[in-house]
């Protein structure tokens, strides 16, 4: 229910390509930052780890928070894709070995056009997934958060995203993850189909 809308809307943003007047989000000098091809291992890891995250949810509340935050990020992120004509053209690199081939494949799948990069959904999903695993195994939560941070770093160090994409992705994560502080209760009830009878305190 959460991944499908994300997949469809993200692919649509990529297929649509850069908007007229698109600008690159790289900072001055950022294009010279190194590309570490082994970081591709972290870059592709969310496809498995985040996909499995709902299975690791310990309570309905954790699962609900993941799902609603994910849906809100899909709405907000795609709104940003439509309104802000920002792109991050993938930085070229000299492909070597398995990770180099994987990077080329990743870029082919993203049509290599830099669209759908700001904010980085890799960052949003990784931190949302990490939050679920952190609740599942609280003693190992440092591992979850470190993994999400490494995925965020991999976005830049594989040359797929700019630092601005990653920061925007993290800000979006913070926003949607704390939706309870922002979204009105009536909307939250609608989104989550919560049974509020007997719970409300007036």
């Amino acid at each position: 229910m959460v991944y499908l809308p994300w997949f469809v809307l993200y692919e649509w943003a990529v297929f649509r390509g850069p908007q007229p007047g698109a600008f690159a989000t790289y900072l001055p000098g950022e294009v010279h930052w190194p590309i570490w091809q082994w970081m591709e291992a972290f870059y592709v890891s969310p496809y498995l780890i985040v996909t499995l995250a709902p299975l690791a949810a310990t309570t309905n509340g954790v699962l609900r928070r993941f799902a609603i935050a994910g849906l809100l990020s899909v709405v907000a992120g795609n709104l940003i894709f439509s309104v802000v004509p920002a792109i991050a053209p993938p930085r070229p690199f000299c492909p070597a070995g398995l990770f180099g081939r994987m990077m080329i494949t990743s870029r082919d799948l993203d049509l290599n056009n830099g669209a759908g990069a700001f904010p980085s959904f890799h960052v949003v999903w990784s931190f949302l997934g990490a939050a679920v695993y952190a609740r599942r195994w609280p003693r190992l939560q440092i591992v979850s958060w470190t993994w999400a941070a490494l995925v965020a770093a991999s976005c830049v160090l594989t040359g797929i995203h700019s630092l601005a994409d990653v920061i925007a992705g993290f800000c979006l994560f913070l926003l949607v993850f704390n939706y309870q502080a922002i979204v009105p209760r009536s909307w939250r009830t609608f989104l989550s189909n919560e049974q509020t009878v007997g719970k409300r305190v007036f």
């Binding site: 993938p90 070229p92 056009n113």
Partner: protein
């Protein structure tokens, strides 16, 4: 946007270049080329230019150096052939 992909077999290492060879990307291709020269001493080095849409002055200078160091260029269309002719000085 610029992209480098490589294809390698026992005799030949082929670089396929796509997009705009300009600015900072010239440095990336230089690094690739130097690595190829060091790592593939006995291989024939080919550079497929068909996917290029633009080459700036520094890019042309690099292609000239690559040619001088033994690179063979692959060019199919007229525009790319003209650029190759300019680079190899024919």
């Amino acid at each position: 946007m610029f992209r480098i992909t490589t294809e390698e077999n026992r005799q030949v290492l082929t670089f396929r270049l796509e997009g705009r060879l300009e600015g900072p990307w010239v440095e990336v291709l230089t690094e690739c080329w130097v690595n190829a020269l060091v790592g593939s001493e006995k291989k024939q080095l080919r550079v497929d230019l068909n996917g290029l849409t633009f080459i700036d002055g520094a890019g042309k200078a690099l292609l000239m150096r690559m040619h001088a160091q033994g690179a063979q260029f692959i060019a199919a269309d007229l525009m790319t052939k003209a650029i190759v002719a300019e680079i190899v000085g024919r």
